[in-house]
Point group: C2
């Protein structure tokens, strides 16, 4: 089993953190986004959407889409469950993981893709080119501000994003926050005391270095 990834790709980091939390031994194969290796014929044969990460199983089956990879690894390897144990628990975690993705992660990503000079003509991830729309950058920042408010409210009532335990939902929320800090210079402010408490707890886990 091997994971095609890129070191600077926040989606790749979501999977790497999950792998680290579960203590899995999976070969990492770098894809050089700087030379647009993801658009090479060789990589498109692995993932026709031309995005990282992709997990390739020993039988050659390619699993794309970050949350799908995360869930697959958690289903396939029982140690350190990061989506809970029952179908109901898995659904609750997957719901919160997806909310963190849509409201947080995807909002930052949309802003970055529509702003970065290096992504001109590639405003939407995937194999097709689209021009940037500058208005989306400001809208994305407002979405991230709302994500912070909502995340703070959530973490004021429970210690972790999906409830009482650290789960895959914390991984996506952490990567989203780190991405917003780095790409949008949107730090966690003092008023968001619940996010700050949570962030100090999840970002010191060894997996956060992944």
């Amino acid at each position: 089993m091997k994971l095609y990834h890129a070191s600077g790709s926040p989606n790749s980091r979501r999977v790497r953190i999950l792998i680290a939390e579960k203590g899995l031994d999976i070969e990492l194969v770098p894809v050089d986004l700087g030379t647009r290796e993801q658009f090479s014929d060789a990589y498109r044969a692995v993932n026709p959407r031309a995005v990282v990460p992709t997990l390739v199983l020993d039988d050659g089956t390619a699993i794309g889409e970050t949350p799908v990879i995360m869930r697959y690894l958690d289903d396939a390897f029982e140690q350190v469950p990061l989506f809970g144990m029952t179908a109901e628990e898995k659904a609750v975690v997957a719901m919160w993981e997806r909310r963190a993705e849509i409201e947080g992660f995807a909002a930052v990503m949309e802003g970055v893709r529509n702003a970065a000079a290096g992504l001109k003509g590639r405003a939407v991830s995937g194999p097709h080119g689209y021009e940037q729309i500058p208005e989306l950058v400001e809208r994305s920042k407002r979405r991230v501000a709302n994500f912070y408010d909502d995340l703070d409210a959530r973490l004021s009532s429970v210690p972790f994003v999906a409830g009482e335990h650290y789960t895959a939902a914390d991984i996506t929320a952490l990567v989203a926050v780190d991405f917003a800090i780095r790409a949008f210079a949107m730090p966690i402010v003092d008023q968001h005391a619940a996010i700050r408490r949570w962030y100090e707890r999840v970002s010191v886990r060894p997996s956060a270095m992944a």
Copy 2:
């Protein structure tokens, strides 16, 4: 168990089709989007994102997010598996389901939300208001055109979206295509013979009426 839904909501239809395919008996509770009932305190207590659908289990647990509801119902009720049987099969189906969502369904939805007069100030689903960006409408239509091309290529090599069998990925792709036909007046053209063959097959299943 009951499903909060809206009859005109394409996301609700994804879940209703899955329920019909599996032959499940789940109470449907209508949410009136026309009077903005999804923003009521009562509904926000069920789903803080203020979106339909939401599945509420007998113990009161609320499961939001359409693909999460679909996967939960398939995990919880073994009859007529729509994501396959093994962890690997489920991952492959979930990957193709998500691709149909991101490249097809979400592209149509983005165009509609940024165009419809009735959605002014609500260009992004969820509890927060955002102004429409007209440029996104054209970009969304180009994304749907690319989705059609890619879907046709895929269906030229396999009979169903995820491979040899009808799965949850076909449900999302069918709802995306019907949504594009209705909202964008983008019919399946003659050149897309593989989509047409597939569409004629999946749209006559009784579940498609759901």
